[in-house]
Amino acid sequence: MLSSALKQSLTLAVIMAALVGCSSTSTTTDSADADSAVSSAADSSAVDTTDTMADEAVEALDTVFYFDFDKSMLKPEARAALTAHAENLKAAPKAVRLEGHADERGTREYNMALGERRAKAVRDYLVLQGVDASMIETVSYGEEYPAVVGATEAAYEMNRRVEMK
């Protein structure tokens, strides 16, 4: 148990390094977010606690993961559920579709690309956890399918998401 926990946090560290590496090369303004992501990754004990809960709460796992405006970096709170999903998918492989979405601000095709980048961020996380990449399809709908209709910050937050199906 101890060794598996250790292994998991090591994997996480590798993933985070990879994710941070990506973001810092793509933008300069993202560096603030990258820093905060690193510090929250160090605090990865949260992942371990959910690990034991995963079996009894498969149904309750989050299947929607949220993002910041014009960002495609996984939020720390998404990782626990995604790690549990990864374990389930490794135990019982099945086809997964990751649908990326954006809020309505900005242009439609740029948002289409942003939704894809978000879906791929989730996919990459699952793959690094050992899920077979060939079982995962990513599709972006951009801003075409808002979860919540409205021009409020609250609505936008709900719409910047990846849905696992």
Partner: protein
């Protein structure tokens, strides 16, 4: 394959390419015109037959009013409705304050259809400025009216009229139903080109106005289609994993530029329609999307966040050299060249609000044209006088138009669904 079977249950795509004729669903609300519009009297069209389905003079008059450059005289205020030039009493029109008078006469053409004779008279100089005849089939009364407005507009402003052009737009009903629509630029004669329960995105025209390309999600993924307007015949151009988006025809009509992410990142490609060869023109891990051709077809502009935020870049196709074009603001996207090639129009975020703006390419000066929020998808008329764009009115998607000098504005709200992504057609006849 497994994925498709699993998805088959809820992905029932209903596709139709039929002409659904109904009453116009887009209405026009003029919100702003030029300070001193030219007063013009478009006299009711002479006709000796039975009741007509369209009021030709009224349609032409509305066209001229919508341009913002003209103030049509109400027909009730006219002292007489002359049919021929020798019946024009210039003094009466001068008293009305009318700068110009348009007379027209409609006649049936043997075998069906109509012939329209019209003249334009200058009240001040008391002379005939223009005389012309145009003809159309039995369903062509609106075409005749738009042709008359085009000729009058050009005779007075020196700019070719674009009232005979058309527009595409997407209409959505919730997240449930989508329609690709074709209509006159005054919103009339709308026709459904495609219906789907999956999103339809990014419609645009071939340079001859005979075909359209667009993105449809009907296959459970985005795919690029082209469709021939006259026959409804469709062809799926792409079926790659990932993004298949933002298709635009080259100025010579032989290629389509698009964004594909099949190799990992969204990149700009061109497809040669004859050889079916795809050529990649960008290579960057950032988002590259929303290509548009330069008027000479030798380069593409596109949106990229390679500098951290979305900005407009230009790639020269022969050399692959990439140059950044926009520097002002933290979000510039979906740019198009103006017909004269001297400016861009684009979506520009200013103080956190998304507007339509122009940028002069030589000086780099940006000018914001719209005041509303969430403005997007600017599409310029082929004469460069106005552009259509999409915006929101109390969270409903509507179309609106603004002149390139921001002096003229009108809106085209929809009576039904959310409307968006207008694409102004090219001219259908070349000069």
């Amino acid at each position: 394959m497994m994925l498709y079977r699993a998805l088959g249950q809820w992905l029932v795509v209903a596709l139709m390419a039929v002409a659904a004729q109904a009453q116009a669903e887009l209405t026009i609300e003029i919100t702003q015109g030029v300070d001193n519009p030219t007063a013009i009297a478009v006299v009711p069209t002479g006709w000796t037959g039975g009741a007509l389905t369209e009021d030709v003079a009224a349609i032409a008059s509305a066209d001229l009013r919508r341009s913002g450059q003209f103030r049509p005289i109400a027909r009730e205020d006219m002292l007489q409705w002359p049919r021929f030039g020798d019946q024009v009493f210039y003094r009466d029109w001068r008293v009305l304050g009318s700068d110009y008078v348009v007379l027209s006469r409609l006649n049936p053409v043997p075998g069906g259809g109509y012939s329209l004779d019209f003249e334009l008279y200058d009240v001040l100089s008391q002379r005939k400025v223009l005389q012309r005849n145009v003809q159309a089939g039995p369903q062509g009364l609106r075409d005749l009216a738009h042709a008359m407005a085009d000729a009058v507009y050009e005779a007075i402003t020196g700019i070719r009229g674009a009232f005979s052009t058309k527009m595409l737009y997407v209409e959505a009903f919730g997240n449930k139903r989508y329609r690709l629509m074709l209509a006159d630029v005054d919103g009339a004669r709308e026709k459904e080109l495609l219906k789907s329960n999956q999103p339809i995105v990014s419609p645009s025209w071939s340079p001859d106005g005979k075909q359209v390309v667009y993105v449809s999600f009907e296959t459970t993924r985005p795919a690029i289609f082209r469709q021939v307007l006259a026959t409804g015949e469709r062809q799926q151009l792409t079926n790659f994993r990932g993004l298949n988006g933002a298709p635009v025809f080259s100025p010579d009509g032989r290629k389509v530029a698009m964004v594909l992410s099949k190799d990992g990142n969204p990149e700009i490609y061109t497809l040669d329609l004859a050889t079916r060869v795809f050529t990649r023109h960008t290579n960057h891990f950032a988002i590259d999307t929303e290509p548009a051709w330069s008027n000479d077809g030798k380069s593409l502009i596109f949106t990229s966040d390679r500098g951290g935020k979305p900005q407009i870049y230009q790639v020269t196709l022969a050399s692959g050299r990439v140059e950044r074009l926009t520097f002002d603001g933290d979000y510039n996207a979906r740019a198009r060249f103006t017909p004269d090639g001297k400016s861009l129009v684009m979506v520009h975020r200013y103080n956190g609000v998304f507007h339509i703006a122009t940028q002069d390419l030589e000086s780099g000066m940006i000018r914001v044209l719209t005041q509303t929020d969430l403005d997007e998808s600017p599409s310029i008329a082929p004469n460069g006088a106005m552009l259509l764009y999409a915006t929101k009115d109390r969270s409903k998607g509507i179309l609106a138009a603004v002149s390139l000098d921001a002096g003229v504005k009108f809106r085209l709200p929809s009576k039904q669904g959310d409307v968006r992504e207008p694409a102004w057609s090219p001219y259908f006849t070349k000069r």
